[in-house]
Symmetry: C3
């Protein structure tokens, strides 16, 4: 396992804007606060969601869309740099009125309400192409 | 996105009482330690659960109850003030013996076993009525 | 609720090795960095998974295996000592190509890709047999 020891430089509690995109909100915030590495955790509700599933054989993402109101039961992700821009790698667990859960890599979702804890680190995390997985993974 | 930069004042690892209510345990703890703002993360098992789903059209919560043993696969939430009392906004991902997942806003659940990490902040977070969503959201 | 106030001694961002076992990676890392107590949070993808469900009546774990590619939508867990060894109590929320979620106590999973945040505490957490649940719970 590759790793990097980090120190935290700042911590934030955030309220996502109603009607905005969940992931874009996080990336704009990272830009605004110049967060080059961090982790975030959140909860709330969304009005739709596009979840990506990585096909490990074909090494491509497939999108599934859920055009419906959903609880954001749990959101976990991190901020790092990809192709010169800050990227919020965002995973989400969503749920329906009957309690059944959906989950995966969150590409987009319209915020109904959202609460976030963000923790920024004193380092610069960069993603680069990884051969075995064809994903952009951290260089540590 | 509205936000507030915070500093952490204290951190705790906790063991929830067998037979107690999951959310009440967290709120009692927040009262005992005078936590006015914080985030928490947990895992364990429960013996039943009441999950709420917010109907974004009707702007009301609907309850779904699961009177059965469930794993608490992941619990994420925060502490802030609502109507003069400390409130633990608690989301949960639960699962059944076959591994299928349930998730949502956790109103109550009887603790079978529970482990928690709590992080308290040096601020006072208050909830107030939000017009567009009819929810009690943070004033930041 | 029993609890212990802790201070953080170190924080890490980690990249799990492709092809390794998810939980063993965390336990090896805890050994390498001499982490005697901590919490971790992660996301990524796995190629299979063995989830355990604790039968609260029979007080025994039952295993369910998912021999398929899955997203690791969210992983949450902690490090403490059990029977003289570091143990990573690991819970996971996994998902399938159609977005449906699986969750529970993660015994093992082959890492396809994995990103972790680990936070180590300045304490020694020990598990011991708990009579009412027949589980190994923290002595706090």
């Amino acid at each position: 396992m590759d790793y990097r020891e980090v120190d935290s430089t700042s911590e934030y509690v955030c309220r996502l804007d109603h009607g905005a995109d969940w992931r874009e909100e996080i990336e704009s915030f990272a830009d605004e606060r110049a967060i080059d590495a961090g982790f975030f955790y959140g909860l709330g509700a969304v009005q739709d969601a596009e979840i990506w599933f990585y096909d490990q054989q074909r090494q491509e993402y497939d999108a599934v869309t859920f055009p419906e109101p959903l609880e954001m039961a749990a959101c976990m992700g991190n901020v790092s740099h990809l192709d010169g821009e800050r990227f919020a790698h965002t995973h989400a667990v969503l749920s329906r009125p009957d309690g059944t859960a959906l989950a995966g890599h969150l590409n987009s979702a319209t915020v109904f309400a959202g609460e976030l804890y963000v923790r920024a680190f004193d380092t610069h995390l960069e993603r680069a192409h990884d051969e075995p997985t064809d994903l952009d993974l951290w260089e540590l």
